[in-house]
């Protein structure tokens, strides 16, 4: 009369195991679900009933109570359908308890008993891995995804009838095409990424992309419309190295939670690139809602988030970027739930220097100064501080482009980026060996930025400070960027060239001072 079956529901990017208890007793026929179900879970009653009848099973003409434990946790989504259906059969005595022992069930049911995929499957499987020693039953269409987490313990089935056949001992687990075969069949077409070689001129902008990719420096491009900001930004992901397996799993998990399919399917290999429209809300960016769904920041985890028209974003949305950029995670706290979403991103933003777009020195800006000031004040100081690289991208004259051949291709620059990252990693490891505990409380070993600087480099920075062109914070920014530039050039010592480039890559900050005061 009582059956217990394991399933899971989603909380943020994590899964939460749910024990589905079904009790069938004498009494007036009826069906009730307790344990804070949402609308989709409550409706599963009708789906489960139709699916069971379609499979030729009886629906109990008795009182059915379904409890979803832990009862205090809100359950969302239709992924509990399958577990409820199995539980109902178990409680009627149509399935022996041993048949469901050690198994967990995740899937949405169709009225004909077919199984449909569930968003956030990866997270659900992750949390069920320890509860279900015999495996987790998943919809066939999610077989590949499930296998990433569970390997052979993923039990994909096509429909409820098939599953019941297995559970009652009348069949065996259905065969699934092997991962190699499945990968071979859809031919994983490499995502067509724009190549850096297509960008003519824009030497400084190209260099900014390279440095951003090598040192994970957030980049802000400032320029008039049509100067190539977007063109540059879309070429950044191509410079990043492939994802490691752990990174890929993190990315896949976030994407699956958000219910967004990875283009091409399978495990992501390249870092994600997200470019939301500037009308995005703060919640759309950082995530939230009642089920604490991940936002664009999390979808761009381990990849690139491109915010075009940064100056047109709502002020609230902009300010919401501040902590995630600093910490790499988003700590959401809502009345009913708390969640930490991953957000290790490389941010590229593009904006015009003023509302009309022509406000760079030498341009014909038609904005009134208060308009311009209002526009620029939205990019608050603290937000601007998150960008190590601020580059002005002036409009390129057509005749300047004619004489120039194609620049270096993405592949060439990506190799340099990989080399620079390796050098930085070696240095970090060496510093960790010297001082295993780390100097900062965050556990990160911070280098002294000016430790390995040539005298000319120091002099150049000192000169900038003396002229009032560089603040203390500016010095720190220039120091980290100069280090990356030196790594790209394969130099152990940061020289004058590296500092000069770092200064040039930050010079755009001046374009964002609302009113140049005289």
């Amino acid at each position: 009369v009582l059956a217990q079956v394991w399933a899971a529901t989603r909380r943020g990017v994590d899964g939460q195991p749910v024990e589905v208890e079904v009790h069938v007793s004498n009494g007036f026929p009826g069906f009730s679900i307790v344990g804070l179900p949402d609308a989709a879970v409550r409706e599963s009653r009708d789906r489960v009933r139709s699916a069971l009848l379609s499979c030729g099973r009886r629906w109990p003409q008795r009182r059915v109570t379904v409890n979803l434990a832990p009862s205090g946790l809100k359950k969302a989504g239709p992924g509990l359908d399958l577990a409820i259906a199995v539980g109902v059969l178990g409680a009627q005595g149509e399935l022996p308890e041993s048949a469901t022992e050690g198994l967990a069930f995740v899937g949405e049911l169709g009225l004909d008993g077919s199984l449909r995929p569930v968003p956030g499957l990866l997270a659900l499987l992750w949390c069920l891995a320890t509860r279900a020693p015999r495996g987790v039953v998943v919809p066939m269409s999610c077989a590949e995804e499930a296998r990433l987490v569970l390997g052979p313990l993923a039990r994909p089935v096509g429909c409820l009838r098939e599953l019941l056949a297995v559970l009652t001992g009348q069949g065996s687990w259905p065969q699934v095409p092997s991962p190699e075969a499945s990968l071979a069949s859809p031919a994983p077409a490499p995502l067509s990424q724009p190549d850096l070689a297509e960008v003519r001129g824009q030497h400084l902008g190209r260099r900014a992309l390279e440095v951003a990719a090598a040192g994970r420096h957030h980049l802000l491009l400032v320029g008039p419309p049509g100067s190539g900001k977007t063109m540059l930004a879309t070429r950044l992901p191509g410079l990043l190295p492939d994802l490691t397996r752990e990174e890929a799993l993190e990315v896949a998990r976030v994407w699956s939670t958000a219910g967004v399919r990875w283009p091409g399917g399978g495990l992501p290999q390249r870092p994600p690139f997200r470019a939301p429209h500037h009308g995005i809300t703060a919640v759309g960016l950082v995530g939230g809602g009642t089920d604490l769904a991940p936002g664009e920041l999390s979808l761009a985890h381990r990849g690139v988030l491109f915010l075009d028209e940064l100056g047109e974003l709502a002020a609230r949305t902009l300010q919401a970027l501040r902590e995630p950029l600093e910490e790499g995670v988003i700590r959401l706290a809502r009345a009913g739930a708390r969640e930490v979403l991953p957000a290790k991103i490389l941010l590229v933003a593009a904006m015009n220097p003023c509302p009309c777009g022509e406000g760079l020195p030498g341009g014909w800006c038609r904005c009134r100064p208060p308009e311009r000031a209002r526009y620029l004040q939205r990019i608050s100081g603290p937000l601007l501080d998150r960008f190590d690289l601020v580059v002005t991208v002036p409009r390129v004259q057509a005749e300047d482009l004619l004489g120039q051949g194609p620049g270096e291709s993405t592949a060439v620059v990506a190799r340099r980026v990989a080399g620079a990252r390796a050098a930085a990693e070696r240095r970090r490891a060496a510093a960790e060996r010297r001082d295993p505990k780390g100097r900062s409380s965050a556990g990160r070993v911070e280098e002294d930025p000016q430790a390995a600087w040539s005298p000319e480099a120091r002099q150049l920075v000192a000169q900038q400070v003396a002229q009032g062109k560089l603040s203390a914070r500016g010095v720190a920014k220039v120091a980290t960027v100069a280090r990356t530039v030196a790594d790209l050039g394969g130099r152990e010592t940061v020289g004058q060239v590296d500092v000069a480039e770092a200064l040039a890559l930050r010079a755009g900050v001046e374009a964002l001072i609302p009113d140049r005061r005289w």
């Binding site: 824009q202 030497h203 400084l204 220097p353 030498g362 300047d400 040039a504 005061r517 005289w518």
Partner: protein
């Protein structure tokens, strides 16, 4: 003090009254405001139009004029409008306002009224001065006028001229607010000179905000703000037109930095021609419409060129060679001593800001070489950067 509001009776202290000012700290002694000054201010407030004030004061002492206006028997008050306004005027409030703002009033009869203004029959008859009153006689005055919506080039040139003229002991005059005139005054404030003179087209004590307020505070501290209009008179197109005549009337030279073909700065130029004040024009890029008005003046022979502050001093009769290098700034190092890359880059820099990309394209050097060369040039005083774009800066 209580007698201020009562007219016609014997004033207890005919030489002057002192008002306590609640907004000032204790122990602060505001400058004494004489009864005559208050009378003139009251006349100006009632008449609003400065030309009418001149007619009210012509041949009358301030006291006589005020009493006559109040009694409705001043011949310049044709329809009794002034008498009604005078009856409604709260003189005590006006006096408190003048004292609070630290405003002094001078008119044609007072000794500190600028002599040249007093000689011009079409000139102003009253001036309200906030700040350093002695500034009207502190040295030669040069009006720097130009576009409010100035280009970077214009702002920079105005700033350079302002600083150099200030250092040479010249009083730099202009308006408050934005653009060329504000930039020139900021330059004068930075120099050790006598401080700037702002001539505004509205009554003093107008509520200001933002840039204008900052500028006003700085000018009042080191220099002076001057207007023909009584406190509380709002800024209107016709008051701005009046501003030109006082500005030019106070100045010995008018210097135009960036005036487009329809620029308001040209109004000051017309006024200067009427008053016989020499006009100088700082040239700019011929490609830029922001300079066409000024260039046209030179082409028509109505103005002379000034391409460095020494030209202005020469026109003032202060030709002292080049003694006015602002202190603390190094002269440019000779180009010949710099690296060949720096020389190549320097050859491509002009007044228009250019991008690093353009320099890379035209010099054939690598990005790294160009950025190093630019830093070298900046250190040597040859290049200036704004927002990542580079050009030749003023040598000062």
């Amino acid at each position: 003090v209580s007698d201020l509001g009562r007219e016609g009776g014997e004033d207890p202290s005919p030489q002057g009254v002192r008002l306590a000012c609640p907004s000032r700290p204790e122990g602060f002694r505001p400058a004494p405001l004489t009864l005559a000054e208050l009378d003139v201010a009251a006349l100006a407030r009632v008449a609003v139009n400065p030309n009418l004030v001149g007619r009210l004061l012509a041949g009358w002492t301030p006291r006589e004029a005020w009493v006559a206006v109040l009694a409705g028997r001043h011949p310049a008050d044709l329809d009794g409008r002034l008498a009604r306004a005078a009856a409604d005027l709260d003189r005590r409030q006006l006096a408190a306002r003048l004292v609070r703002l630290g405003v002094r009033v001078c008119w044609r009869e007072t000794p500190d009224f600028p002599a040249r203004l007093a000689r011009d029959p079409r000139g102003p008859s009253v001036l309200f001065v906030q700040g350093r009153r002695d500034l009207l006689h502190a040295g030669p005055v040069v009006a720097v006028v130009g576009s409010r919506a100035a280009t970077h080039y214009g702002l920079e040139v105005a700033n350079w001229f302002g600083e150099a003229l200030g250092a040479a002991g010249v009083v730099v005059a202009g308006g408050l607010g934005r653009g060329v005139e504000a930039a020139a005054q900021a330059g004068a404030l930075r120099s050790k000179g006598p401080g700037p003179l702002a001539v505004v087209g509205g009554g003093l004590g107008r509520p200001l905000a933002g840039e204008e307020l900052r500028q006003q505070r700085a000018v009042v501290e080191r220099g002076a703000v001057v207007t023909e209009l009584a406190p509380g008179v709002p800024e209107r197109p016709w008051t701005l037109a009046l501003r030109c005549r006082s500005l030019v009337g106070l100045s010995e030279v008018v210097l135009v930095v960036e005036a487009g073909e329809r620029s308001g700065a040209l109004r000051s130029v017309r006024e200067a021609r009427r008053q016989g004040v020499p006009v100088l024009v700082v040239p700019g890029p011929v490609t830029s419409p922001a300079n066409r008005g000024g260039h046209r003046l030179v082409a028509a022979g109505q103005a002379a060129l000034a391409f460095e502050p020494a030209d202005v001093l020469a026109t003032l009769g202060q030709d002292r060679g080049r003694p006015h290098e602002p202190a603390g700034k190094k002269a440019r190092q000779p180009l010949a001593g710099l690296s060949s890359a720096a020389q190549a880059v320097a050859g491509r820099l002009g007044g228009d800001p250019v991008s690093v990309d353009w320099l890379v394209a035209v010099t054939g050097l690598s990005l790294a070489e160009v950025v190093v060369a630019l830093q070298e040039l900046a250190g040597a005083g040859w290049a200036l950067a704004t927002a990542g774009l580079w050009r030749c800066g003023p040598p000062g």
